[in-house]
C-alpha cells in the first residue's frame, strides 16, 4: 500500500500549500485566451511593477462567478470578446465607472458603456467570404446581410450555429434596426438558403467556400489573416487564397462590428491598478501588440492593422449601431433563430 501512503503525503502537502498575497497586483477574469495576451501582461508588469493575475474561461461563466462571489470577489477587471457580456454585466450592476481621460479621448462613444463602465480594446468585423468563380460582380453590388435571405442565394450560404456568440451579436444588431418580426422572417430566409446544416467554427465556413461546398460564408474578419499567415497550416493557407473577403453594407448601415472589451468591477480590491492596466491596453504599444497577434482592428488611429488584414481595406464603413444593443437584444435574437431552426 505504499502508493496510498505516498498519496496521503501529497495530500497533506497541498494543505500546507497556500496562496501568498501580493499587494501590488491586478486580477483579471478573462474571456480572451490568446497566448499573446500573456506576453502583453508581462510587458505591463515590467513597466509598472504590478503583477497581473489571470483566470481565463468562458465569458458567461466568469460573469456568473463574479455575481456569486459578490463582495468577496477578487476580480478587478472582466475582459470579454463580445459586447453582449459587457452589457449584461453592466445591467447586473457589477461595474464601476472608469475615470480616465485617456479612455475618454480614445474610445468612441458607441464602443463603451453609458457611464464608461466598460470600453472596447479592439474591433473585429463580421464579414462575408465568397468564391470568385461562382459569385458574380453584379451579385455583390451593394450586398447586405439582409440580402443573403433572398431567393437568389438559395443553397449557397454557409454560417455557423445560432449558439455562437458572434452570430447572436449580428442578429441582435438586425433586431435593433428592424425589430423582431422582420428579423425572424430574415432568419427563416437564411435557414432556407443554407448550403448545409450549420456546423463547425468560422474557419470551417471559409473552408466550405474554398472547397466549393457553398458560394458565400459569414465569418469574422481576423480569420482570413490567421489562415493566410500559415499559422494554421498549409491546407488553410491554400484555402484562404481561394476565397475573397467582402465587407457588406457599404451602401447602407455599414459592416457589423464587434469588440473585445474590458470592464472595471466595483468589488475589485485593486481598482486603481485596474484603470492603469486599461490605459496600458489602449496605449500605442499594447494596441500594436494586439493587432499584430490577433489580427483585430485597433482603436487608436495612429496604429494600423496587420498588413495581412489591412490589404483588404481599412477605411470601410462601420455600422454605428451601439454595441450595447447586442446584449440588450441577444435573448430575442436567440429565440428567433431557434424558432427558425438555425
Amino acid at each position: 500500500m505504499s502508493i496510498i501512503t505516498k498519496s496521503i503525503q501529497i495530500c497533506l502537502a497541498i494543505f500546507i500549500f497556500s496562496a501568498s498575497s501580493l499587494a501590488n497586483e491586478v486580477n483579471l477574469y478573462s474571456g480572451r485566451h490568446y497566448d499573446s495576451d500573456e506576453k502583453l501582461y508581462a510587458k505591463f508588469t515590467e513597466q509598472t511593477g504590478i503583477k497581473v493575475n489571470v483566470i481565463s474561461g468562458k465569458g458567461k461563466a466568469l460573469m456568473q462567478q463574479i455575481i456569486t462571489e459578490g463582495a468577496s470577489s477578487p476580480a478587478d477587471l472582466f475582459i470579454t470578446v463580445d459586447a453582449g457580456n459587457l452589457w449584461k454585466a453592466q445591467k447586473e450592476g457589477l461595474f464601476h465607472t472608469i475615470t480616465s481621460s485617456a479612455v475618454d479621448n480614445i474610445v468612441p462613444a458607441n464602443l463603451r458603456g453609458p457611464n464608461n463602465e466598460w470600453v472596447a480594446l479592439a474591433k473585429r468585423a463580421r464579414i462575408m467570404y465568397y468564391n470568385p468563380r461562382t459569385v458574380s460582380e453584379a451579385e455583390l453590388e451593394g450586398l447586405t446581410y439582409e440580402d443573403l435571405a433572398k431567393p437568389e442565394w438559395n443553397g449557397r450560404v454557409v454560417i455557423r450555429k445560432s449558439s455562437n456568440m458572434y452570430n447572436q451579436s449580428l442578429v441582435s444588431s438586425l433586431v435593433a434596426n428592424h425589430g423582431v418580426e422582420a428579423t425572424e422572417a430574415w432568419a427563416n430566409g437564411i435557414v432556407a438558403n443554407m448550403a448545409r446544416k450549420p456546423e463547425g467554427n468560422d474557419r470551417a465556413q471559409i473552408m466550405a467556400v474554398a472547397n466549393g461546398e457553398a458560394d458565400i460564408a459569414v465569418a469574422n474578419s481576423y480569420y482570413i489573416a490567421l489562415m493566410l499567415s500559415g499559422k494554421k497550416g498549409d491546407e488553410q493557407q491554400v484555402a484562404a487564397n481561394k476565397v475573397v473577403p467582402y465587407f457588406p453594407g457599404q451602401d447602407g448601415r455599414g459592416t457589423h462590428i464587434n469588440i473585445s472589451g474590458v470592464g472595471l468591477l466595483k468589488n475589485g480590491p485593486n481598482k486603481g491598478n485596474g484603470v492603469k492596466l486599461i490605459e496600458f491596453l489602449l496605449s500605442e504599444e499594447a494596441q500594436n501588440h494586439i493587432v499584430n497577434n490577433s489580427f483585430e482592428y485597433p482603436l487608436l488611429d495612429s496604429v494600423s492593422p496587420h498588413p495581412l488584414i489591412a490589404q483588404f481595406g481599412t477605411d470601410f464603413k462601420q455600422d454605428q449601431t451601439p454595441v450595447s444593443a447586442y446584449g440588450e437584444f441577444n435573448p430575442d435574437a436567440v429565440k428567433l433563430m431557434e424558432r427558425a431552426g438555425w
Binding site: C11, H33, D35, P331, K335
Partner: protein
Amino acid sequence: MSYKDFLNPWIILPTFLFALFVVPVIWIIFSLFGNYSDNWVHIYNYTLSGYIYNTALIIIGTSIGTLIIGVGSAWLVTTYNFTGKKFLEWALLLPFAVPPYILAYTFTGLFDSYGTANNLVRDLFSLPNEFIFFPKLRNVYGASIVFSFTLYPYVYLVSRMAFINQSRSMLEVGRTLGYNKFQIFYKLSIPAIRPAIIAGLMLVLMETISDFGAVEHFAVNTFTTGIFSAWFGLYDFHTAKQLAALLLIVVISFLILEKYSRRKSRYSSGSNVFSPIAAEKLNGFQNIFASLFCFIPVFVGFILPNIQLGYWALNYKLDFFNEKFISTAWNTFYLAITAALICAMLAVIINFSIRYKKNKVLNVMSSFLTVGYAVPGLILALGVSQLLVFMDNLIFRDYLNFILTGSIYGLILAFIIKSFALANSTIESGFLRINHKIDDVARSLNTPGWKLLFRIHLPLLTTSFLTSMILVVSEVIKELPASLILRPFNFDTLAVSTYIYAAEERMFDAAAPSIAIVAVGLLPIFVLSRLIVKSRPGYRNNDNHYQSY
C-alpha cells in the same frame, strides 16, 4: 433503536461529509421551486422536444456501443488467450486518456468532407474534389460513436474486474450443461456480473448526458446544449439551472431504479473454493476475431486520434513543452491523485457504513451525491462557489482569516462531487462481492467495525480501490470545465489548456496539451492496472487465504 444507533462514528462522519458535498447538488435542484421565466414558453414550444429526442437517441446508441465493446472485450481478455492479448488487455484502457470532445475534434479533422481521411482517399484513387468517401459524422450517430469509443473503458474495467473475480467453477458448470463458449458468456457470466455492468453503464450514461464539448462540436442539440443556450444565449441562468435540475431528477430516478432492481439479490460468490479462470487458447478464425475485436476499440479510441493530434502538434506547435508545461502537468497530476484518493476513501467509508450499520438514510443520500457526475461541470462549479462563499462568510473569513473562494480546496471539492460516482460504483460492486458471512463471523467474534474494515474488507477491496482511483484520476485529468472558473489565479491544468483552445476549435493549438493529457493520464492507468493484475485473487500464493473463508 437507542441513541447509540445514531451517535456512532459510522453514521456521523459520512453524514457530515454528505451534508457538505450534497449542498451544490441540492442548490441546483432547489431552483425548481423558484419562479419560472417566460423563456420556458419558448423552450417548451420550440426546443425541448428536440433536446429530449436527441439525448434519448444518443443514450441508446452509446449504451449499445459501450456494452458490446466493453463487455465483449473484457470477456475475451479474461477467458481466452489470443494473439496480442498481453498488450490489448491493458491497451483497452488507453481510450480513457482521450476525452470525448478531443475524439470528436479529431474525427471531424479526419472525416469531414475536406478532412485528412477523405483527402487521402481522393489522392489515392485520384478522385474529384466533390467525392466524399466517409459518411457525415456531425449527427447523433457520430456522437454515439464518439461516446462509445471513449467511454467503453468504464464498462470494460468494471466487467473485467468482475470477470477476474468470477470463479472457474462457473465455467465448469457451463461445460457440464453442454453450453458452447457464447452460451456460457451470455447465460452464466453476464447475469452473474450484471450489477457491475450496470454500474459501469450508469457512469457512461451520466458522462454522456453531461457532455457539452462533443455534441456542441457535432452541432447536435441535446439537453446540455439546451442548458447552455438558456444560460449563454437567453442570459437566463435561473432557467438553465432549472433545466439542469430536471436532468438530475431523471438521473436520480434511474439510479434509484437501478438500486431497487437489485435490492433482493446478493451477488457474492457462494463458493468455498475460489479458483481463478484459466484462459483457454484460441486458434484460427476465432483467434483473429478476438484480436480484431479488442484491437479496433484501441485503434479508433486511441491510436487514430493520437495520430491526428501528433500531426497537428508536430506541424504547428511544439513550443508548448517548456518549463510552464512541467508546472501545469504537475498541478494536474497532484490534483488528480488527491481527488482520487479522497474519493476512494470516502466511497469505502460510506459503503462500509451502509453495509455494516444498514444505514438507509445514507443509502438514499449516496444516490444524491452520485448524480454530481451528471451535472455539467460549469453549473456544478457555480454550486460549489455558492457553498464556498457561504462558508467564507460564515466561518472562515472572520474566525480563521482564510478565504476558501478561489483557493485550491474549492477545486478539489468540485472534483470530488463530480467524480464521487466513479469511485462509488466500483467500491460498491466490490463490497457486493465480499461474502456477507465474513461480516457475520466478525460480528460473532465481537470484532470492532474499524478492524473489520481495515483488516478484512480493505485487503479484499484492493482491486476495487485501485480501479476507482484510475477512474477518478483519468476523469480529473481530462475533463472539467469547472476548473476553468474555480482554479486559483495563474493556476493552469492540462485540461484547462486544452479546453480553452478546443472549445474554440483551435485544434492546432490544442493538440500539444491534448497529447500531454494523454501522456500524463497514461501513467496512472499503467501503474494502477499493473497493481490490479497483481491483486487478482490467486495471484499471490500466500495471500490466497482471504478468499477461502
